[in-house]
Symmetry: C2
Subunit: 121 residues, 2 copies
């Protein structure tokens, strides 16, 4: 058995689970929007709720998860709590995923709109 692959470097089960957890943290449309917004600058819960078009409680829960994962940090100013991205290397990962989304082959064959990004505000 193991006919083609004899033996090779396989990551630990902890590493695999951690990588799966990290990828799953970014594998959600709402969190992608939140992270993308926070990579441009800091923002508050209600502001993000309008940007991502979700309820504030939803955004708060996502921010809690992202904060536990170490992807965002918070700063308090009065009653507001401003969130911002913790490290910048997440942008690279998201850009790769967004790039892959445009160049996907047999996944969902439709939508070829000419404008790929548009402004919000």
């Amino acid at each position: 058995m193991h006919q083609s692959i004899a033996d090779f470097q396989m990551p630990t089960a902890d590493q695999v689970d951690g990588a799966a957890r990290a990828l799953r943290m970014l594998a959600d449309p709402t969190r992608i929007k939140i992270m993308w917004a926070l990579l441009q600058g800091e923002s508050s819960v209600n502001c993000l709720a309008e940007l991502v078009e979700s309820a504030p409680s939803t955004v708060s829960q996502h921010l809690a998860k992202l904060r536990l994962a170490g992807l965002v940090e918070s700063r308090r100013d009065g009653t507001f709590i401003y969130y911002h991205a913790a490290d910048t290397h997440v942008r690279q990962l998201l850009e790769q995923a967004l790039f892959h989304a445009d160049h996907a082959k047999g996944e969902h064959p439709q939508e070829h709109d000419p404008h790929h990004v548009h402004t919000l505000g």
Copy 2:
């Protein structure tokens, strides 16, 4: 509203959904093991089933998803069907995720084993 972030380039909903789908495709321990194995070389279903320690039917379903996503390709040789990774730039993404798994901060504070990889075979 939009106090800190005025307006900026926000990806399309299609792009966000596509990115989420692509990341979700890799956000599974079994699929990570499969992809990691197939990045080393081609292999068959039963061989992969032993490597990832899952039932052959499970591996087959994962391979079908990965094939639809364009991440793996297949080659038939008799009763065997050998799968291999389609593009190599997935390795970079997995390496980033595995690297992030080691350097995660407040996610799951435990396990600091000295050896980070070990051989299977």
